[in-house]
Amino acid sequence: MLEIKDLCVSYGAIDAVKGISMHVDDGEIVSLIGANGAGKTTTLHTITGLVPAKSGSITYDGHDLLKTHANKIVTLGMAHVPEGRHVFTRMSVQENLEMGAFSLKDQSGLGKDLEMVFDYFPRLKERRRQLAGTLSGGEQQMVAMGRALMSHPKTILMDEPSMGLSPLLVKGIFDIIVTLRQRGITVLLVEQNARMALSIADRAYVLETGKITMEGKASDLLHDEKVRKAYLGA
């Protein structure tokens, strides 16, 4: 359903993504792993229109994303949990979550959706009135994920959702990702925690300096010697 073909992206003179092709099918968890600076974030940013592509194509559900306004992409059912959280620091936790539902025409389910998020993240319920800017890093990460869920996405792009989270929460996050898939949501997951990512993903791509160097079933990659050496630290 999400299909990327020969995508190239550059920042001025820097080529960050150099012709990658990949696809994510309905209901899959696809993981994208790679070293720092490999171009993972850039790829996600290009998908949701935050960064313009130089060439190539991205289609989602039959829509040409490169021709879709960035702000319309979320209405196609694609949410993005950005790297570095990007919560609205001077809004309360609850307001942040409500912003997540901005794109929905029908705002009546707001209360129920909030409860769902608070179910995932009880901590946020405690802090629902606190300004998001004063939350700890991990708490902010929860806000960012919760906010994405509020838009009733069919697909979620997640950029290092476990970064800075306690081990318990990391498990929690991965559990949530699994739950999301069970509920029929497609996930494209960028992770440094490659071991965890590969263990829950169906398929995975390995990105190295802007190029896809490996792809396949996640369980295969998990046992691949090269992958183990480069990304799993063993």
Binding site: T48, L50, A79, H86, F88, R90, M91, F102, S151
Partner: protein, 307 residues
């Protein structure tokens, strides 16, 4: 007794100009709130509005309508000017430059509007026909001018309206989101450019309303009229806490009151050492003191960055 009447009327003098400052400050705050830009041209939007009033009031009165109806063309023109300035100058600079570049662009736009209107209308002052014919309300010896009261009421209504708009409407929430984090706002499905344009439209529309109230109190236009007014109103916005809607209102009224009271009493208090000629300096001194005590202004939220 006379002293008290004098004092109360000084308060009202302060509120009269203060409520105009407040209206102008609201426009500054809206724009600053969303793109962190001191829109130096905002004072000049008021000038544009005032020229529209000057030109249209005679026709409107001739049509048998009340003079204040001229605010409608003024709003239309100001909104157009505001949105054009934003699209033509601020947007390209915002996308490529930094905050300093944007500031210089705003200053340049201000120069452009001032000199442009001088080229069109000439540098000389022109009077605006009377806009309101409101009676003063008298309490014994105390006379409170009707248009001052009207300006204050309009200011409060607009402030409340804006506050509600920003807090509760969809567009208002979009504005807040854009003001905090444009990238995240896009991901929420917000059209950042149209939100910013909308903010400019509102800010400029407010400038037109402000020019109506200003011209009611000070019925004269000239190409440079916006410069000092804009500066004072900007100071008001900062004093109140820039970005804060009630702050703009409070700041505006506060500056008006400070000006009026220092003009009236500073000479007596200091035994003539400091005279009313220092009123501008005192306004700034108070601003400085407030900022040193509360760096984000009276109503401003402390953006204390978490380390």
């Amino acid at each position: 007794m006379d002293q008290i009447i004098m004092f109360v009327s000084q308060l009202f003098n302060g509120l009269k100009i203060g409520s105009v400052y407040a209206l102008v400050a609201l426009g500054y705050t809206m724009v600053y709130g969303i793109i962190r830009l001191i829109n130096f041209a905002h004072g000049d939007f008021i000038m544009v509005g005032a020229y529209v009033l000057m030109l249209t009031i005679p026709a409107i009165v001739a049509m048998g309508l009340p003079a204040w109806v001229a605010v409608i063309p003024a709003v239309l023109v100001c909104v157009a000017v505001g949105v054009i300035v934003e699209k033509a100058a601020y947007k390209p600079v915002r996308e490529k430059g930094n905050s300093m570049t944007a500031l210089i662009t705003a200053i340049a736009m201000s120069l452009l509007l001032e000199n442009g209107s001088q080229a069109v209308f000439g540098a000389d002052f022109q009077t605006v026909p009377t806009i309101f014919h409101l009676p003063s309300i008298a309490f014994g010896k105390l006379k409170l001018p009707g248009d001052t009261l009207l300006t204050i009421v309009i200011g409060l209504v607009i402030m409340a309206g804006l506050q509600l708009f920003v807090k509760f409407t969809r567009q208002g929430k979009a504005m807040r989101a854009v003001s905090e984090d444009k990238e995240a706002a896009v991901l929420m499905g917000i059209n950042v450019n149209s939100t910013i344009a909308l903010t400019f439209a509102i800010g400029s529309g407010l400038a037109a309303v402000a020019s109506l109230m200003y011209c009611a109190a000070y019925p004269q236009v000239s190409p440079m009229m916006g410069a000092m007014l804009g500066l004072k109103a900007f100071v008001a916005a900062v004093l109140g806490g820039i970005g804060s809607i009630p702050g703009a209102m409070i700041g505006g009224l506060a500056i008006g009151l400070i000006e009026s009271l220092t003009k009236a009493y500073i000479g007596t208090i200091t035994g003539g050492i400091i005279t009313s000629a220092f009123s501008d300096a005192i306004v700034f001194a108070i601003l400085i003191i407030v900022l040193l005590v509360k760096p984000s202004g009276i109503m401003g939220k402390n953006e204390g960055e978490k380390v």
